[in-house]
Symmetry: C2
């Protein structure tokens, strides 16, 4: 795979890492970064993530053979629709958003002929932000979920999959709804839980936290605006995951209430088995 | 501080790390490890955590100037009471258990004259077990909470504090009940939450987890028997912490139900502020 111009919309941790990976793997003749702040773009270029920078979204996407939108999930669909009209036939638009159904459905049927959008979600990232945290190997061995809609052209889906594979990812295809339901539990609920736990820490107990509290709440340091948008776009699946979690908490509470060591042991042993199977 | 014989009861991650730290800091002329399995003791000695090993608990504690109990929390009080009768006047017994009130109250008034027990909890550890994970620097810069009862002699408390400081710890004095209430929230609740989250992961979604899920559930890999004992010993404070956590989850649920972005933003921003203040 060799792309003439790869446009990266939003050059933070994810966008910057795509740029670093694409340049180190010589995936594109030119990596063009677009964003709202010249300073961030300059920083990303200085770090080696971009060849060129641009402040005009439509102009940057128009030049792309492949454009990847790494902006907050509540901006992606609008940006895709607004910029697609200027694109040449054959252009592939994709994204890195953590929710998929709202984006894919909003874009569906609103693109010019020959321009395709293929929703994608690379399962990589961290609680950190900004191109200074970008890494060329962020995607190596990670999974990218590719979520075509019913009308997404098959060649565009294949191209999107090749793009993420070329960055080092493994690829898995799911419907946008399947993705959102699974990620509500594997990603969005953990964020909610971490934030709820961090949120109830009394200030005077901060010194009494150790690695357990710190690991369990680490992702609560993520950007509130980004996560608010994710929660709102994936409300219903997140509420369902939260119900499931509260039911499990009830089982722990009932075991504690009843001083039932056997029930606690069963719950803890089952959880350990699941966690052990995940590895580090 | 120079101890003639330091006896370590239970030579796993914590006991082994105490041995490594004591030996590398030349805190004791002799570090004697006691446990139930010769194989584990031999392993700990081979790793440099012990000078000598012993399978007889009473005999090992009898030789101690300082003995530290690193056994599961539901065994500590019984072991302390059983072994104290053989100790010389001036012997200091301490422990590393994650709960304090049940242990301190059970021991209180049941020791021979001149033998003191000072409850302690070094806030260090991990989900791993066994002397092979012990580290000489496990306690460096970490906090140990020392929890005297009303009748604990002041010189023994001071000696216990010196002991933990000599291992590299900072020391903070709290009542056993204060400790248990605070740790219910900063340590025991996170374990329960991590286990509840790991426990509801559908097997088919394991591949869709990334660092967020893994960080948040890491401690769920801890030993179920150890944690069952901790939960049962600290039931009431853990139930109170769980209520507080569920109330916070309710606020997230209500915000999601109402599609209330501002409320979500407030909750997430407050959590981020708390988490940012903790550092890594």
């Amino acid at each position: 795979m060799k792309i003439e111009t790869l446009t990266i919309v939003g050059v933070g941790l994810i966008g910057g890492s795509i740029g670093l990976a694409a340049r180190s793997r010589r995936l594109a003749a030119r990596v063009l970064g677009v964003g709202r702040r010249q300073e961030t773009l300059d920083q990303a270029r200085a770090l080696g993530a971009l060849d060129e920078t641009c402040l005009d979204l439509a102009q940057a996407v128009r030049q792309a053979e492949v454009a990847v939108f790494c902006t907050p999930v509540d901006q992606i669909a609008r940006q895709v629709i607004e910029t697609a009209s200027g694109c040449a036939a054959g252009t592939l638009l994709t994204d890195a958003g953590s929710t998929k159904a709202a984006i894919v459905r909003a874009v569906e049927g609103r693109l010019p002929d020959g321009v395709a959008f293929v929703g994608s979600h690379p399962l990589a990232g961290s609680e950190k932000r900004g191109p200074e945290h970008a890494r060329a190997d962020l995607f190596e061995g990670r999974l990218t979920v590719v979520t075509p809609g019913e009308t997404t052209p098959a060649p565009a889906v294949a191209l999107a999959e090749s793009f993420w594979q070329a960055l080092g990812c493994e690829v898995r295809r799911m419907s946008p709804e399947e993705h959102d339901e699974a990620l509500a539990l594997t990603s969005h609920l953990p964020h909610l839980v971490a934030a709820a736990l961090a949120g109830i820490l009394p200030p005077e107990s901060a010194g009494l936290t150790a690695t357990g509290f710190r690991d369990t709440t680490r992702i609560a340091a993520g950007d509130p605006a980004l996560w608010k948008a994710i929660f709102l776009q994936n409300r219903v699946p997140v509420l369902a995951a939260l119900r499931k979690f509260r039911d499990r908490l009830d089982r722990f509470r009932n075991a504690l209430d009843a001083d039932d060591g056997e029930a606690l042991d069963r719950l803890l042993s089952q959880a350990k088995k699941v966690r052990d199977a995940l590895g580090n």
